[in-house]
Amino acid sequence: MSAKMNSKRRSAVQSVLLPVAFGGVLITAWQTGLLHKLLNTDEYVLPYPTRILTIISENTDKIMENVWASLEVALLGLLFGSVIGYLIAVFAASFRKLGSGGLTIVSSFNAIPIVALAPVIINWTKDVSPQADVRSMVAKIVIVTIVCMASMSVNAYRGLTELPAFSQDLMKTYGAGKLTEFRKLRLPNSIPYIFTALRVSVPVSIISALVSEYFAEYVIGVGRQIRENILIAQYSTAWAYILVACVIGIAMYAILIAAEAIVLKKRR
């Protein structure tokens, strides 16, 4: 075994061990109260990790109910937003002049604070259903849909239009029509861009699901529970939900990365 191989291996081991060690130090500081001194807070507002884990294990059913509520919103919003976003991109790619102007508008939706968007959408969906839980759900899904739309439409548009050099000419030499060109060239070309969009919109879908819950009529969801529990000074429970929210975020991103690795495997 050569020295260079050794150093490469050592470097790989380091990039796993060092962050893990850092995390260990952080959790130890938290558990031993050092972190509290640093942040100038007490174990009431910032409970020990063991306490948070106890809360989670004691309230699994209630927490899972809220997790599913948030996940449903995030995933459905992500799905609808991505599909609509992609269709907008297809439209924009088919009518370039008109479309790119529309795309500017859609992408500027991204800059609208969700805090302003959420109450408006909740207002508009008041008549959807007489049941508060249903109409709240619809409102939240619509909010997530709008937020996720922008990144998909912008990225998919790039994927549909930034084609390899001469590939369009090649299609023309085969006498391919617009539809064939789309199926054989534009669609496959846009797939890596879809994943680029999802890398942005997966975390965004969770955030906007949690924040939309703040404004919703019906009290459910991980985000809303964080807030409600803080209002009644149940900080340990709030932290339990924060931890769960982080796990959701990490899990969904991990799934996305795995899916991307499988789908794009042959391209690399």
Binding site: G101, S108, P119, P203, Y235
Partner: protein
Amino acid sequence: MKLVRKITNSKLFFTFIWIAALIIVWEIFAYQVEQTKRTPENVLPHLSGVVDSITSDKKINGSQTAFQMVMENAGATLSRAAIGYVIGIALGFILALIMSLSGIVEKVVFPYLMLIQIIPILGMAPIINAITKDIAVSRIVIAAILTFYPVAANTLAGFKAVRRESHELMYSYSASKFQLYTKMMIPSCIPYFFTGLKISAPMAITASILVDTLQGGLGLGCLLSQSLKGAMTRYVFWDIVFFSAIIGILSFYFIGIIEKLLCPYKKLEQKGR
């Protein structure tokens, strides 16, 4: 004739067409709502109504017009957002710099930098408010956190994107580390740095408004909640919605303009390649 064609060919022209279309759709629905609802402004007011509420000099809380009220609260929120934004930029840039200088620090911090991007920080806003015990401070802290990681991640990507030949050039001059960074690394990562700034500007504003809604006091989010609860005319709510949407969008473009001023070479066309 030429001018007409030039206008109709420009992207801006089609953007305006879309804006016009949106306004028309809005007004059609507003008209519908007006026919069917008792308090149409709660659901969808006419845009003229919103504009009226901004320009009217009627005092809505005894001392202030709606516009003055929104502006005063916006000042409280946005100034905190701006402070947090600047702190976040500074921290993000410094962290990226340290990570670029030290492989060990990069290895330790990089996974956490990725992690912080995928966990819902904004969901932690209430707890940060509880820890800092001061709404003004928590606005700054959350805006800073939300700014810090896109700036750090993008700036680091900028440092990494520097081509090997650029490094070798500096090496062949036996440039010092300080020269390497001031003459080459930092200037070349500026476009990436600005990408981070553009992403985080609307986020910092959103975060500040969100923190407002958690607690009473002066602030756009707080005013928004009050208006929603019916404490004052609903038009204040709409004013804030439009104001924050416009500010969010403008913040993005504003950073773009600063970038163009700082990097005049960026807009130049690539030639002969």
